[in-house]
């Protein structure tokens, strides 16, 4: 399932994460597999409850009880990082694999200046040895993320800058140690559309300039269309469609992908088709395909048993009985 095997940066195989409740456990990430190559943007698309954020947090092992990673492997630089000792994982996190989040305001210390926090990251990861060097580096990072008047921003506190500016600062902090991989969890969802456009372009330009890869998590298909090379669509903890972005968007195969695209207004939409029913109850998942209760093409097969993982068609993989049966 790789796009270019020799350039694979991250390979997730059968990742499984569960939340242990009082009465039942919920599998929020159920056998997720994908690969991310060098200098590539993979968009993980899903609505709330699809497991996309949990997937990202699991990759970085940022989960704590009652959430636990219960299966699968995550290969990075020839090692399964799920099995790395905590110490090694800590050096990896932030330095080689960085993450940015939806609401930057929650991620900054409101009592320290932006400059201070950026300097701290630089010194912590050993990028610079002393404060003055860190200060210079910080300034150039702020300019790289196109923060105008970077000197002033260095001395400002998080509550003194706008959401868009803070998000840029968060990107600066994330790329400061020159990571190979950036995980971006809905980085623009809480921003105005004009700012969103700027931030998306910024991420793309940073990706190219620094030869990074980005795992971009979003619920917004049009955002994915703008930034992604590859796309994975998630539903109820599983990836249901996966492949080259242009292919998937032009010819969506899985009924959920099709339904999702048909339910979002675009400049050319005539009629929106809502998706019937409620999102799958992960505590009591349906016996067959998770999407079957809402699928307009659900077959007896789909309702009874889970479809086999992935049927390949050209550049796209689909997890669906419609294609499994056809393929046979």
């Amino acid at each position: 399932m790789s796009t270019s095997s020799n350039g694979t940066l991250l390979s997730v195989q059968g990742l499984q994460t569960r939340i242990k409740g009082d009465r039942h456990s919920i599998t929020v990430v159920d056998g997720v597999s994908f690969e991310l190559g060098q200098q590539q943007v993979l968009a993980l698309i899903g609505e709330s409850g699809s497991g996309k954020t949990m997937t990202a947090l699991s990759i970085l092992r940022l989960v704590a009880a009652p959430v636990a990673i219960t299966g699968g492997e995550v290969w990075y630089e020839g090692k399964d990082i799920l099995r790395l000792p905590a110490e090694k994982m800590r050096t990896l996190r932030g330095r080689r694999i960085a993450m940015i989040f939806q609401n930057p305001r929650d991620r900054f210390d409101p009592l320290r200046t932006i400059g201070d926090q950026l300097i701290e990251v630089l010194m912590h990861h050993g990028i610079t040895q002393n404060r003055s060097e860190a200060s210079r580096r910080a300034l150039s990072l702020l300019r790289e993320v196109k923060l105008l008047d970077a000197e002033r921003v260095m001395k400002m506190y998080p509550n003194e800058v706008s959401g868009g500016m803070l998000q840029r600062a968060m990107i600066a902090i994330a790329i400061a140690p020159a990571p190979d991989l950036l995980i971006a969890d809905e980085p623009t969802s809480s921003l105005d559309v004009t700012i969103q456009s700027e931030i998306l372009d910024l991420l793309k330009s940073v990706e190219t300039a620094r030869r990074m890869s980005i795992l971009f998590i979003t619920h917004d298909i049009s955002v994915a269309q703008q930034v992604a090379d590859t796309v994975a669509v998630m539903y109820a903890g599983q990836i249901v469609e996966y492949g080259k972005a242009s292919e998937v968007f032009a010819h969506p195969q899985h009924p959920y992908t099709q339904a999702l695209m048909a339910s979002v207004p675009t400049p050319t939409s005539d009629v929106l088709q809502p998706i019937h029913g409620l999102p799958a109850d992960l505590a009591h998942p349906p016996p067959g395909c998770r999407f079957a209760p809402r699928c307009p093409s659900a077959s007896v097969h789909g309702r009874a048993s889970e479809p086999p993982p992935f049927v390949q068609t050209e550049n796209v993989g689909v997890r669906c009985w419609l294609y499994a049966e056809a393929g046979q």
Binding site: Q273, P274, I275, H276, G277, L278, D281
Partner: protein
């Protein structure tokens, strides 16, 4: 095409026979009581409290001795003495009987001021928080004036002005409590009023009184209620102080707090006896506190 809600995805709690409105609607008294019963500690506390109340009310039947009967011989007898389960006080009177008879006054002077304080202080806090502006300033500044006085002095001043007697002690204590309840209610009200559902209520065209009664109170009540339950114990002690000063009941009438005060001087040579009246005060305070916590939890539908 409108897709309706999917009833089969309903949480188990409300899977009722689809016919008419279910008998047990969450929020009706019966349902609330059902939820309260789940908290076994609180239910036990309620049972014990009820027992105490019954015993005290039925004093003529339950009291082993005459609470006023003095005797010169067996004074300051320790608990467990023959014929006197909890001992006797400095005048030889049976402590158990005095506790039972005194309980009526003690519980009354503990609970009544709190109820009055809750109603009056709660009303002030609601109005101040809901209307804001001038109304709020006027109410809260008046409340602050009361706050400025040390509680004890204020209570004494009021009780002295009104004259001796249990009723006036209750009034004095209520006045002392109103500012605290008002403040707690006001801050809860302000935070509730910042929510959109109150804005929606105001947009409905319904008059303010109905908004306050039907929408606001239920969201604001748990803060002052919890506060009030927890303060009954201290108020009983406070009332005791006033009684001790002669502002409330007159000796030799029994009352837990004043009994405690008058036995204080015997602490060194009759330690067990002199703390006896403190025990029901502590127990009552604890019981009310536990019940108060459970009431607060029961009123929150999200914890159902």
């Amino acid at each position: 095409m409108i897709s309706g809600a999917n009833p089969s995805a309903a949480p188990e709690l409300l899977r009722v026979s689809g016919v008419e409105a279910p008998l047990q609607q969450p929020g009706t008294l019966r349902a609330l009581w059902g939820r309260f019963r789940h908290d076994r500690l609180a239910t036990a506390a309620l049972a014990i409290l009820a027992l105490i109340v019954v015993i005290c009310i039925a004093a003529p039947l339950t009291s082993p001795h005459d609470p006023l009967a003095t005797q010169a011989v067996n004074r300051l007898a320790p608990p467990g003495s023959p014929g006197h389960l909890l001992g006797t006080d400095g005048a030889g009177r049976d402590l158990l009987s005095r506790l039972i008879w005194g309980g009526r006054i003690s519980l009354m002077t503990g609970v009544a001021p709190v109820v009055i304080g809750l109603l009056v202080g709660g009303l002030f806090g609601l109005l101040a928080g809901y209307y804001g502006g001038v109304t709020r300033t006027v109410i809260m500044r008046c409340v602050d004036v009361l706050f400025a006085f040390p509680a004890v002095l204020l209570a004494i001043a009021i009780a002295v002005t009104l004259g001796a007697g249990t009723r006036n002690v209750i009034i004095a204590l209520a006045v002392v409590l109103v500012p605290s309840v008002a403040r707690v209610t006001e801050s809860a009200t302000i935070s509730a009023c910042s929510q959109e559902y109150i804005e929606a209520a105001k947009a409905s065209g319904v008059n303010d009184a109905s908004i306050i009664v039907f929408q606001l109170v239920r969201n604001v009540a748990s803060a002052p209620l919890a506060y009030c339950f927890s303060i009954i114990g201290p108020v009983i002690v406070f009332a005791a102080g006033l009684n001790f000063l002669g502002l409330g009941i007159q000796p030799p009438d029994p009352e837990w707090g004043s009994m405690l005060y008058s036995l204080q001087s015997s602490l060194l040579f009759a330690p067990l006896t002199s703390i006896v009246p403190g025990v029901p005060i502590a127990i009552a305070a604890l019981l009310f506190d536990v019940i108060g916590n459970a009431v607060r939890d029961v009123l929150d539908p999200r914890l159902a």
